[in-house]
């Protein structure tokens, strides 16, 4: 009968499956507390290729093993919340202060008293109760096509709402947290009504529907579908690296008032961390001179530690005055920003 061998195969494979599951559970077991070299567990929404080189270096230096999973911040925070005191995670690492603020709101992080972190990371780049710390800075600025726009025509984010840019502006979708944070800081500085009229002005100037990524948006600017947009500088850096003849340039807006909008990638130690001390040491190392340069350079960002200079490539884009509003505002006003953009029909 055909049925018999098939059934046997199915059965033996099922056994294999269960054995494999058991092995996976085994690997999952937390290392015993006696171990001199603890394993630090990280939930990271910063992508593997941007963190793994640093983790490897830390392990080589200290012998502390680091294991991690990567995912978007939302699911990771949900997981942390659901796991409660059971969580294996010692460190939560995400991009955008809005996400970290949310983790604080849900009481998932623990405040740290660390002289090192406090002196390495400026106050506006960490939370009020020191439960998370910025580790790198990303600037969200104006990108323009050098053959169609003069830098002298540009001034501020608000100016992009001017009818002069009718049919010439491209933006990324409002669903991206970077834009939500940008608008959140505008609400905080300009007030909700003014911020809304600026955003409505942007929407009126759109040359096409918003894009799903900064990169595709900049490609459209270069191809001539539109003339300018707003992007994080490292996306620009990547394109420039791939194509040195890129006909795009960065402009630093609002230099006479609040400065360029910045955000952070950052991390905190979880409330129920089993290896809290080791986790804190990891963060301290990440904020220090050895790691900061590489952390920023891996993604062409700016170091959060003001004593460390960005890479030469990044420095070549020029110095700028950054908005020093506390990045926490991005989290506090995020929902308001989303509602505002919905009302302005910014998709």
């Amino acid at each position: 009968m055909i049925g018999n061998p098939l059934g046997r195969i199915a059965r033996s494979l099922l056994i294999l499956v269960s054995v494999l599951s058991l092995i996976a559970c085994e690997g999952q077991a937390p290392s015993s507390g006696e171990d001199a070299k603890p394993t630090v567990t990280v939930y990271s929404s910063r992508k593997e290729h941007l963190v793994k080189p640093l983790f490897d270096r830390y392990t080589a230096k200290t012998g502390v093993e680091i294991r991690y999973i990567t995912d978007s911040a939302g699911p990771l925070i949900a997981r942390l919340a659901a796991e409660g005191s059971n969580t294996p995670a010692d460190v939560l690492m995400t991009v955008d202060a809005g996400n970290l603020w949310q983790a604080t709101e849900q009481n998932l992080l623990r405040p740290l008293t660390s002289q090192t972190l406090n002196s390495n990371i400026p106050e506006h780049l960490r939370s009020a109760n020191n439960d998370w710390f910025g580790l790198s800075i990303r600037a969200r600025t104006i990108v323009y096509a050098t053959d169609r726009v003069q830098a002298s025509e540009l001034s501020t984010y608000e100016n992009l709402a001017d009818p002069a840019w009718l049919g010439r502006l491209c933006l990324r979708t409002s669903k991206k947290v970077y834009n939500q944070s940008l608008v959140a800081t505008m609400i905080s500085t300009l007030g909700e009504a003014d911020a809304e009229s600026v955003v409505s002005g942007w929407v009126a100037n759109f040359s096409t529907d918003p894009f799903s990524s900064d990169t595709t948006m900049m490609e459209a600017i270069e191809a001539g579908q539109c003339d300018l947009g707003i992007a994080n500088t490292y996306y620009f850096g990547r394109m420039k690296k791939a194509d040195p003849n890129l006909k795009l340039a960065l402009f630093w807006p609002n230099q006479n008032d609040r400065g360029v909008h910045i955000n952070i990638s950052g991390a905190g130690v979880t409330k129920h961390a089993k290896q809290a001390q080791a986790a804190q040491e990891l963060l301290e190392w990440l904020s220090g001179p050895e790691a900061q340069g590489q952390l920023a350079e891996l993604n062409q960002e700016y170091p959060a530690n003001p004593l460390i200079k960005p890479s030469a490539t990044v420095q070549a884009w020029g110095e700028f005055k950054a908005d020093d509003i506390n990045v926490e505002v991005a989290g506090r006003l995020q929902a308001a920003a989303v509602r505002l953009m919905d009302r302005a029909d910014y998709r």
């Binding site: 499956v17 978007s72 949900a78 669903k175 191809a223 995020q334």
Partner: protein, 519 residues
């Protein structure tokens, strides 16, 4: 079993305990009309297209003979190997304003000539249809093959035109299979997040994500998700209706001759099939290949780990699902019901839930078990508390079971349905036990159905992204995870290599699936 599958759905339905009036009011004022409209466009458009493509291609390759039929037969299944989030970024890369085709177009015809906008509802429908029609194609083709041409011949002899014979005889007989295929495609459409977010096309799924990450309101997100489920519930009832009341059992073997198409008809059939393969598979994979060559340096040793994990998860999920779906489907037969009961229907709804929502539902439930059930037991046994379920391979496999239950259940149930009850009755009369009937009558007859269930789940699991991301054990990175890391940073070129590998390892199961069903 059904209760297990219902777990995440239950977690989601519990969300209605709290009212989120402020957010709902906001949604109704600003978004809901567009969300509904877009979702309907998507469902209507994709439904129509997969129906037309799947049925026509299925009929041509099953019943007709034309040049190239032999290889296009299986090549038409290949788009199934391409995840929707991959086809979406390839299509945008190729066809957007800054892409090579439009750039060339502008050079030839000037900047102001019209070119259809790919970032439009039509574009999304097009892209999703190209990767989803194989579900309908596969099931329709199988049904046509099983029917044979006897009845169509009879109808023609009695004076009906070939078209009428097709529409009035062959098509109604294949209805259960076609309906199953379309509902799979539509559930996948509703659950799709990858493609619609790359197109920035607002649907229920994107709204769920937005309530979650923009408003940080899991409750509102879950409430939206349950509305989505309502959609699906209605669709499933419609499918039940579409299946009709008639029962079509497998007839004895019959002649397998095909209609030999001649002249322009044959040419048209060949050209049509080839065009579909070209657009849905050759062009996207070619583009992936070009991009992948630019980043071939990233093909390091860790890559094999990714491939291995991807494949192992697929196989394990496939086996687990086949066993479960077979037990449930057989249980239904024992109860004397021919169609799935309400619970099985509900169980199948997991497929239409956006992967992340489902994953969070499962995770929440299991984290609860870990905290409230397992830890107290561990304490009693003197073990230190820890996490057993969440982050274990078993939980990830369960997520796949919940998500792909209807994928496995469909083919198995359909082939069970075609086994005539008299086989079972005869076997029982000859003194066979229930188990023996399952083993000696059903199993051999079911093998094709089981195999296609296994392979379908294998391919679907390997493509699955959100649940894998959230629930994988440490170190179990897969190709889909790597693709996510690249696409979420907008680095489509670097995502091409893992995408290409994912497509390539999905091709053998797809080919086996279609080859087996030819016999």
């Amino acid at each position: 079993m059904a209760a297990l599958v219902m777990l995440p759905v239950t977690v989601i339905l519990l969300s209605w305990g709290t009212a989120e009036t402020a957010i709902w009011q906001h949604l109704i004022e600003t978004q809901l009309a567009r969300l509904l409209g877009n979702t309907l466009i998507l469902v209507g458009g994709v439904g129509t297209w997969v129906l037309i493509l799947g049925v026509s291609l299925g009929w041509l390759t099953a019943m007709c003979e034309f040049p190239g039929r032999r290889w296009m037969d299986w090549a038409l299944m290949l788009p199934l190997a391409v995840p929707s989030y991959v086809i979406a970024f390839v299509a945008l890369g190729l066809l957007s304003y800054s892409g090579p085709i439009q750039t060339l177009w502008r050079e030839w015809f000037g900047a102001d000539t019209y070119f259809p906008n790919i970032r439009s509802p039509g574009g999304v429908v097009f892209v999703l249809s190209t990767v989803l029609y194989p579900y309908v194609y596969m099931l329709a083709r199988g049904a046509f093959l099983a029917q044979g041409r006897n009845l169509v011949d009879a109808s023609r002899l009695l004076g009906r035109s070939p078209w009428k014979s097709f529409l009035l005889v062959a098509l109604p007989m294949a209805r259960p299979a076609i309906a199953a295929g379309v509902s799979l495609a539509l559930m996948e459409t509703l659950a799709d997040f990858g493609a619609v977010s790359i197109f920035n096309f607002d649907t229920f799924t994107t709204a769920i994500y937005k309530s979650w990450f923009g408003f940080f309101n899991l409750t509102a997100a879950a409430q939206l998700a349950s509305l989505l489920l309502l959609f699906v519930g209605v669709a499933l009832i419609a499918e039940q209706r579409a299946r009709g009341d008639g029962r079509f059992h497998q007839q004895p073997r019959r002649k397998k001759e095909r209609f030999h198409l001649q002249g322009w008809k044959a040419l048209f059939a060949s050209a049509f099939c080839f065009l579909v393969i070209l657009l849905a598979f050759i062009v996207p994979v070619g583009q992936l290949l070009l991009w992948a060559l630019e980043t071939a340096g990233e093909l390091d040793s860790r890559f094999w780990g990714l491939v291995l994990h991807t494949f192992m998860l697929g196989v394990m999920a496939g086996l687990a699902l086949v066993v479960m779906a077979l037990l449930v489907a057989y249980g239904q037969r024992l109860k004397g019901r021919h169609q799935a009961g309400l619970l099985e229907r509900l169980a199948g709804m997991g497929y239409a839930l956006p992967g992340s929502v489902l994953a969070v539902g499962i995770m929440t439930a299991f984290a609860f078990f870990d905290r409230e059930l397992i830890n107290p037991v561990r304490e009693m046994m003197g073990l230190e508390p820890g996490q057993v379920l969440v982050g274990s391979l078993a939980t990830l496999l369960l997520a796949y079971v919940v998500r792909f239950f209807s994928v496995a259940y469909g083919p198995i149930d359909a082939s069970l349905e075609r086994i005539r009850p008299v086989f079972q009755e005869a076997a029982h009369m000859l003194g066979a036990s229930q188990w023996e009937v399952l083993k000696r009558v059903y199993f051999p007859l079911l093998t094709p159905g089981l195999l296609s269930a296994l392979l379908l789940v294998l391919v679907d699991t390997m493509k699955e992204m959100p649940a894998t991301l959230l629930l994988r054990p440490f170190g179990w990175d897969t190709l889909a995870v790597r693709i996510y890391e690249m696409t979420s940073e907008g680095e489509w070129q670097r995502a091409a290599l893992p995408s290409l590998v994912l497509v390539l390892i999905s091709i053998p199961p797809v080919i086996i699936m279609i080859r087996r069903s030819r016999q």
